[in-house]
Amino acid sequence: MPNTSVAEKFRSMDYGAAPEDPLESLAWLDRFKRRFGHFIGGKWSVPSQGRYFETHDPSTGDKIADVAQGSAADVNAAVRAARAALPRWQGLTAHARARLLYALARQVQKHSRRLAVLETLDNGKPIRESRDIDIPLVARHFYYHAGWATLLASEFPGHQACGVVGQIIPWNFPLLMVAWKIAPALAAGNTVVLKPAEFTPVTALAFAELCNEVGLPPGVVNIVTGDGSTGEALVAHPDVDKIAFTGSTEVGRAIRRATADSHKKLSLELGGKSPFVVFEDADLDSAVEGLVDGIWLNQGQVCCAGSRLLMQESIAVALTKKLQARMAALRVGAPLDKTSDIGAIVARVQLERIESLVAQGVAEGASCWQPDVPLPSRGLYYRPTLFTNVHPTSVVAQTEIFGPVLAAMTFRTPAEAVELANNTAYGLAASVWSESVNIALQVAAQIKAGVVWVNSTNMFDAACGFGGYRESGFGREGGREGLREYLQPGWLRTRPPLRRRAAGGRRGAQAVEATKLIDRTVKLYIGGKQVRPDSGYSLECRSRSGVLLGETPLGNRKDIRNAVEAARRAQQWGSSSTHNRAQVLYYVAENLAQRGKEIAARLAVVVGRKQALEELRLSVGRLFAYAAWADKYEGVVHSPPFRNISVAMNEALGTVGVICPAEAPLLGFLSLVLPLVAAGNCVVAVPSALYPLVAGDLYQVFETSDVPGGVINMVTGRPAELLNVLAEHDDVDALWCHGEEDLCAAAKRLSAGNLKQVWTNEGRRINYFNVREGEGRWYLEHAFQVKNIWVPYGE
């Protein structure tokens, strides 16, 4: 019988349907009767309030399963299970933990297709992506971290796990985010309570089953499903030691505020509006494919999606034409079809958001272009979209759309490309395309982003840190830098809390009679100049016995503003050579030593002679230490399984506000300021509240030591007030606060505005006189942010 079907296809040469058969995966769902409880303490448990919610296949709207709605009680049960499991988990040998992580990797591989199909069903992403990208990366993450579990003690001496970790993940890479969160946490010896996204809980639950299959001790991994309220309960739980969150910047801010009053360590991986920069000497065809991988991966629902195309003017027309031709060949269709390039948008609310932002873009006058590709008749689909005639002021150029929408702009010079690339509140990722190693690396270094892909995009690997600058969050996932987020110095939580000092002195000390000295006017130190405070007021500074030692300016919000501006102007310090920075610090040491006696004598009146001499001795030593570190705290070259060089560069944070510890006015100041300055940051420091007069001694030393103006600024005054201004200042990139607990809490809470990184002493008494606690890598780790630059090579 003639088969007209074949003949017709022979002529049309269409692709036809190529559906992945979901039967095995559906049978797995049926095994659970399509109803899932929480996974707590190794067992499936019914939600305490008996409530379930539905999760759907966005390509059809069909219900996949009922999933437990987690209450505060459920979260509490999970946290208790995680806490109870901690001793047993940490009691295992490193090798035993490594074996379990290895077993998880194997188990993921053994069930890789089930996991891929479930992911595609629940999320709507094309099966090609879940099969070829998500699930292989999940397995890789567990393999890689099995290695860290083995090497932990030797590679992170003196560190310990945070404890119980609460993790909240988004819906765009559901299982991959499970792996990114759980693998490092377990490798470092933590136990976890993880809340998957409401839209996509299924693969996390499938993963829970794998945990039992490999014999992971009960309670080491707990999965509580639910909506935002479940996440809130987890964030608020008092017995959680760390929160790791991936999601929107808005929720990240809320979590920052919610955890401010606790000692919870926090890492946030948030939104982005990542630039995709194409220079005229790029391989344009490959750049176009880069955009396909950049903005049309996972329907553009990717935090690091290259959503802002920056094209050099000379190639803009050619590139746009190529891009449109390529877009016309994209296949939008059933996620389970192996030939779909673009699947379904995760949920109606997300589709509506995309539609509304695109409508705004059109209303603003940007040109919107979509290829005439067919869409399935039902399900949540959106065509790949290109906006041209876009300006930095456009909504579509500023707002994270989280959809398959690309906004294209042009630039004239590399400098302008960098300026446009950095013209965003975000700083997650960037892609730079040029065949010139000079341009590519120069621009990669200048873009403010945690990940920069040269001639590539959306490359991920467990060995490389991922995470953002600015309002894209802080902390890294992957690599050595990612593991640090789940570790802390072993001694830290043994230190007692700082108590608020009573005003005035405790012990009798020899007072210097003010009248015997020439009147000394200590000023603020801003931009390399001694300046009077804006307020025109001064504060008294008294000795321990209550003798008036002098007066310090009462700095206010305007002084902080001026100091931050001075620091911004001095950013050149960050790109000065490390050798140069070391030289300056050595010179400071020299001059401090020279004037040490008189400085110590004045300090002695406040802290006693013994401490003053000790502070002086250690301060000179600390200066030498950070001069040494300045050119030795080096980045690493990661080894992901690709032919490329991926460099984890340590970059300065920028401008850092510093609230210095009160108790060691000289040494405490230098303990915080020196690592920052050695790292290339500019600081606005609020000196010890106990003895702010130390500023007067310090700036004289700095002035005579070639410290460039604006690198170290000092504003005296009421620390709590000045802290508020620093924390709320959007042009301050990070804030270090060593003080009492309420001061630390305020620092964290108020910094949520621009999500600046905050590092505190957790309100604990840190012994700056002990080198282990007061100096070295722990400080430097917080003085830098890690930028991973991927440079594939090969001709």
């Binding site: 079907s5 040469m13 000497d281």
Partner: protein, 352 residues
Amino acid sequence: MTRDTQQRLGVGERMEELPLTVQSSRRAVVAQLQGRALAANAGTALNLDWVDSVRVNTSAVERRAATLIARRTVKKDWQIAWLLRAITCMDLTTLSGDDTEERVRRLCAKAAHPVSDAVKATLGIQELPIQVAAVCVYHLFVETARRALQGTQVRVAAVSTGFPAGLNALADRIAEIRRSVEAGADEIDVVITRAHVFAAQWQRLYEEVAAFKEACGTAHCKVILGTGDLATLRNVARASLVAMMAGADFIKTSTGKETVNATLPVGLVMTRAIREYCERTGMAVGCKPAGGIRTARQSLDWLALMKEELGQSWLEPHLFRIGASSMLGDIERQLEFHGSGRYSASYHHPLA
């Protein structure tokens, strides 16, 4: 090369002085690219600026080649249709030192009946005219092949110009082309002097290919770049452009004798060069991967590459060929499986 030819090709003149697009709008449309009608390639002047501006990022090309074939697949009846199409785009090839006339006749018989009637019957495709595009042989067997293929649509292609090294004297190589054309070859597969690429002597390469093209006359000129020898993708792209400017009807990857033959990244670079050339000149050039293509799956990958990067026109034998000898057997086995539901053995299928 005659003065006429030199003038037509604008050898030695600077490109800016010549319009890029062929003026001959009367020429027949041979292809469509993104809705634009394309004529057969008549060549252009050598444009060195264009050659110099070539950028190829190897890692990115490799990623695209790897993901392209993971993004596209064909199943069931579509797969049957695509495999049949692959057969019709095949240059069934024998290029061995032990070739004989009888061997060539056997190959020609297979070329005319690549799929057995029994298999066609089980697939219900008796009415489809399935023949390979061409047989590809040494000059010595052109006459034999031409006779054996009389009454079929199968064309005769001869490898020429001192194949595979291509290092004979230019006059000898051109004479060789002429002899094959006279012997009745419809297509001539010529090889370039790779040294011209290594030395970036684009003018010499251009003149060489232009001379080959002229010698071919109405026979199709398929230019073998020797991509395995050229080593870098940038070289492949530049050589592709120069060959097209010089008038190549097809650009072809390999002789099949290099250690590395037709790889997908090379194919991707060549298809992109073809696309660029088509867009800028309005003329179409065919693509022929050859060497190392042995499986049905590979044939589907190459078809998908053509469809994605160039479009439907490049799924036709006048613009796409696969040079292969053993691939047909694998395709036959797949086709039999589709018809019977049973996995096939190679001895079920007549030898080529």
